[in-house]
């Protein structure tokens, strides 16, 4: 038992004690408190989505009314009056994006107090995003895109007159800067992400139009890049006017400047100032986001309104409504302390995504009134809320053939009582499912999700008997071919409480078919995953590949079997013949075929009959391979939203593939009372 788990259990104990003192009822573990019927956790259907119109003209076309003259926050109006800022019309692009707020047009003001752990989700905007159903790519900071008929060239349109938060113009130059001076600069990127034959050409048609010419049809490119974090600052564009002073190509004295700032050479200084993937930790970095980071230390982060933010509401008011965001830095996994801050009214929003687990729901629901917040629940878009993974390259030479026998994996899937997991761990809110694309995905087939999800220990036992795993004399456990008991180490992807619950349930269920589990509830190191050292793994938050086929692209690698992945990368991306590949482990033929299919699917336009056919072949195979065994899906992810926060939308799905809480449009939230 780790300290954290003990703390969690102790708080649970304290809660139970509290219930006991009040009701004199026996303490009930929260997971069992709701056992009959599904509570209406998602509430009524959303009133109206947060709607965006790419330009004022699009808004006028849709609503029949012209956009009113631009308005702005009072503090900005004061600064304009003092001559410190240009007027709002000069700060906005010629055609700003128009946002129809969720409930109503908001009021300006106030400080939103949040937790710093995922606060980039409040700040972040990319060139594109998905609509909340996830089936459409819509412009955000950009004005749109268009493919050529043969999908060999893609044109991205930026907004004319758009500006960085320091007032400098945002143009194609800022994209080419990253492309030419970061990605194709050998000092910054020693191994470029494209091979020479695959290298696309970036062409600046004019200041606001970028054309990307691919070496082969790439209809998948936009689908894969539609994630709000993909075509975004630090990855796709950077403020060239700000960063070039640290770049050797623009400043011959860049090394000296770097050393005067305490760095070893200019690449280190540049990497620091560009803050790739850590933008929210770099005060003073120009941005296109609604708020600009002004402070970040070991206790808190602070972000203030960006006077140049490029979006307005349907009344013409420049967004965001909220003045500033204060992000308190509590230790990342210290959920109990964060819940306490929420209960004590010290936070205005606590995102549930990868923070609050479903076992906390009863307590949090009960405390809604006293804590001054409301729970907003969304169905998770993960293919499976908790997945059991087997390592195909498990180091134990006796286990490897057992794992690679499909009957063994089928037996494990049949030995899982998914209804019990759903009731005991997920309050009965989820639904049993194999880890396969969700029903709303266009090419999804119903039989994938239900494949071998029934609880049938007899069939599982028969399969294991077939596989040659005989019971020991007293019929307590099955034996491996070398005569030792079949005892598998099951590890934990995050070390979360939920994973530990599921491990315990699985251990009980598998013991009925003679498979013994030894549990390790500490978070498994990344090293063990990458070097293929583990045996079994349960993980409660998908993993990188889980949701991606929802968004369009699909990686050809697995979440495990990294030896195979390394081999496939060489084979497919570098085009090496199999006999010359020195890295990784050569996968079986059917996996090579799968990788070729996935690679081919990338060249077909999404939604075309060939693409659907190929995707279905891929998933016919994947859904039956059972290297990842799904349990339940559509479990709730719930946010705690402070009473004074308005315009917090309900989403049909919530998950990483659509951008997590970027999708809740924090720029159109407002505070009913500016002071808490």
């Amino acid at each position: 038992m780790t300290a954290r788990r003990f703390v969690g259990a102790a708080l649970l104990g304290a809660v139970a004690l509290g219930i006991l003192c009040r009701n004199a009822a026996p303490p009930v573990p929260p997971s069992l408190a709701v056992s009959t019927g599904k509570p209406d956790i998602y509430g009524s259907a959303p009133a109206a989505d947060v709607q965006v119109y790419t330009t004022p003209a699009a808004f006028t076309h849709a609503s029949g009314a012209p956009l009113p003259p631009y308005g702005e926050a009072p503090e900005l109006a004061d600064r304009v009056a003092r001559g410190e800022l240009p007027p709002v019309a000069a700060r906005l692009p010629e055609a700003p994006l128009v946002v129809r707020p969720y409930e109503s047009v908001g009021r300006y003001g106030g400080t939103l107090r949040v937790d710093a752990y995922q606060w980039r989700g409040y700040l972040h905007h990319g060139l594109f995003r998905r609509n909340s159903e996830g089936d459409e790519i819509i412009p955000d900071l950009s004005e749109g895109y268009a493919y050529s008929a043969d999908y060999r060239s893609l044109t991205i349109h930026l907004r004319r007159g758009m500006r960085w938060s320091d007032g400098a113009p945002f143009t194609v130059e800022d994209i080419l800067f990253v492309w030419e001076d970061e990605i194709w600069n050998p000092a910054l990127t020693p191994v470029p992400p494209y091979s020479d034959k695959d290298r696309p050409q970036y062409v600046a048609v004019d200041d606001y139009t970028l054309r990307i010419d691919f070496s082969r049809p790439r209809p998948d490119w936009m689908a894969a890049m539609s994630h709000p974090f993909s075509l975004s600052q630090g990855v796709f564009f950077n403020p060239k006017h700000h960063l070039k002073r640290w770049h050797a190509a623009y400043n011959p004295d860049a090394d000296e400047l770097a050393r005067s700032e305490g760095f070893g050479d200019w690449t280190q200084a540049y990497t620091f100032h560009a803050a790739k993937l850590k933008l929210e930790e770099r005060p003073g970095l120009p941005t296109l986001n609604p708020w600009v980071v002004t402070a970040f230390n070991s206790s808190y982060g602070m972000a203030e309104r960006n006077p140049y933010f490029s979006q307005v509401d349907t009344h013409g008011n420049q967004l965001p409504y909220i003045d500033r965001i204060l992000a308190l830095r509590t230790k990342a996994d210290q959920t109990q302390a964060k819940i306490m801050q929420m209960l004590g009214g010290e936070l205005d929003h606590l995102p549930g995504f990868s923070e609050l687990s479903v076992d906390e729901y009863p307590f949090l629901k009960e405390s809604e009134a006293i804590g001054g917040y409301r729970i907003v629940a969304f169905p998770s878009s993960m293919m499976s809320a908790m997945t059991l993974s087997l390592n195909p390259l498990v180091p134990d030479p006796v286990l490897r053939p057992i794992f690679n026998d499909i009957r063994f994996r089928q037996a494990l899937s049949l030995a899982i009582d998914r209804d019990a997991i759903n009731e005991m761990v997920y309050l009965g809110l989820g639904e049993p499912r194999q880890e396969t694309p969700l029903p709303l995905v266009s090419f999804s087939r119903p039989e994938w999700g239900s494949y071998l999800t029934e609880y049938d220990p007899d069939r599982a036992n028969a399969l294991l008997d077939d596989a040659g795993l005989a019971w020991d004399r007293r019929r307590r456990v099955r034996l491996r071919p070398d005569g030792r008991p079949l005892d598998l180490l099951i590890e934990s992807g995050h070390g979360s409480q939920i994973e530990a619950y599921v491990q315990e349930l699985l251990a009980g269920q598998f013991s009925r078919v003679g498979v013994k589990l030894t549990m390790e509830s500490e978070k498994m190191s990344h090293h063990r995953l990458q070097e293929d050292l583990f045996e079994l793994l349960v993980c409660d938050n998908g993993g990188p590949a889980m949701e991606l086929c929802f968004a369009g692209g699909e990686p050809y690698f697995l979440n495990q079997g990294y030896g195979w992945n390394r081999w496939l990368t060489q084979w497919i991306e570098a085009g090496e013949p199999p006999e010359r590949i020195q890295v990784g482990v050569e996968p079986p033929e059917e996996w090579k075929r799968l990788a070729l299919w996935i690679d081919e699917a990338r060249t077909l336009p999404a939604g075309s009959p060939e693409w659907v056919d190929l995707k279905q072949r891929i998933w016919d195979f994947r859904s039956q391979s059972l290297w990842h065994i799904g349990t339940v899906y559509r479990v709730p992810i719930f946010d705690l939203v402070g009473a004074r926060v308005r315009n917090f939308p309900k989403l049909p799905w919530y998950g990483w593939s659509t951008g997590a809480h970027v999708m809740t449009h924090p720029e159109q939230w407002y505070l009913e009372t500016p002071r808490p």
Partner: protein, 331 residues
């Protein structure tokens, strides 16, 4: 005497060097490095998949591609010049991070120490002078409970009931509205409102322990003949008690000041995590978990430095104060 001081000083430097090697090795011992942790975090929580070359680039940017001994000497080289190095997780100098954390840590630790003494000394005296009375038993039971209950559990329970009964979650040291503000009367009042819980929780185990120590010492002293003599000479009971046996019995408490120096700066890690206090302890723990070498190593060096220095000073003081102690070489 001078030889002794010099020799001890040399030992101290040697010890600190060994600590630096030891902590460096221990922090590097788990497989992987900060970049491994960062990449795992990005994959697990932000679902960003990095290619191996991206990972190599990160490693180079953080200077983690250099051989271990180079990393060690780079860190050591800065350390001897008084530069604590840079945290790679925070991308800021360690000194700055410590400046943010140490003052609050010292406030809590010193307040907790004052609380311990203010509670333990009177109760200990009472307990010893009223041995086997009802009050003594009550104090003894409370003392044992105080020692037996893990402080972080106590913190959780107090926090829960504080919230249930007063609607006030006393987590942290400052309310959100003050945390980013400059110091003001309002901020000070807010701090004082948050201070009692961490101080009491941190101090309660120490108080219980100290009551026991003081009671035992004082009971020893009370049976000494000089007490009987003083009493025979007609000294009033209160004056007698404070002037002689208590002064002697407090000695063991005073001698602990030297080595509590490091504790004052580090703060109580587990309680700080549970109560979300901005002290040095959680910073160190996080740094060790993330393998943020220079941050973790430098904090450990500062803390060990303080411990060694405290012991060194108290050793020298002992020699000066107590003529019975001689550390001259026997050869």
């Amino acid at each position: 005497m001078l030889m002794y001081v010099v020799r001890r000083f040399a030992y101290m430097l040697l010890l600190l060097w060994l600590v630096s090697v030891g902590s460096f090795v221990l922090i590097q011992l788990p497989p992987g490095d900060y970049v491994t942790v960062l990449v795992a975090d990005m994959e697990m929580f932000q679902n960003i998949v990095l290619k191996p070359e991206d990972v190599e680039q990160l490693r180079r940017a953080y200077g983690l591609d250099r051989p271990l001994y180079v990393q060690y000497f780079a860190w050591m080289g800065r350390l001897v010049r008084g530069d604590l190095g840079n945290s790679i997780a925070y991308q800021r100098p360690v000194l700055e991070l410590l400046k943010e954390r140490v003052p609050m840590t010292v406030v809590i630790s010193v307040a907790a120490m004052a609380f311990v003494w203010a509670m333990a000394i009177p109760i200990g005296i009472y307990s010893a002078t009223h041995q086997y009375s009802l009050g003594d038993y009550v104090v003894t039971v409370i003392g044992f409970v105080g020692m037996a209950v893990p402080p972080f559990l106590l913190a959780l329970v107090v926090m829960y009931f504080g919230f249930r009964w007063f609607g006030f979650a006393p987590a942290g040291l400052l309310s959100a509205e003050y945390i980013a503000e400059p110091w003001s009367v309002g901020k000070l009042v807010d701090l004082l409102k948050h201070l009692p819980l961490p101080v009491i929780v941190t101090g309660i185990a120490g108080t219980a322990g100290l009551i026991r120590v003081l009671r035992a010492c004082l009971l020893d002293e009370l049976e000494q003949q000089y007490v009987v003599t003083a009493r025979a000479k007609g000294l009033s009971e209160g004056r007698l008690l404070m002037k002689y046996p208590v002064r002697v019995a407090v000695n063991p408490l005073v001698s602990t000041i030297g080595w509590s120096l490091a504790g004052i700066v580090s703060g109580s890690t587990i309680i700080s995590i549970v109560l979300n206090l901005p002290t040095t302890g959680p910073l160190l723990l996080d740094a060790v978990l993330k393998q943020d070498m220079e941050l973790a190593g430098s904090i450990i060096m500062v803390l060990s430095g303080l411990t060694v220095l405290g012991t060194y000073l108290s050793d020298i003081l002992l020699v000066l104060v107590d003529p019975r102690i001689r550390y001259e070489s026997q050869t």
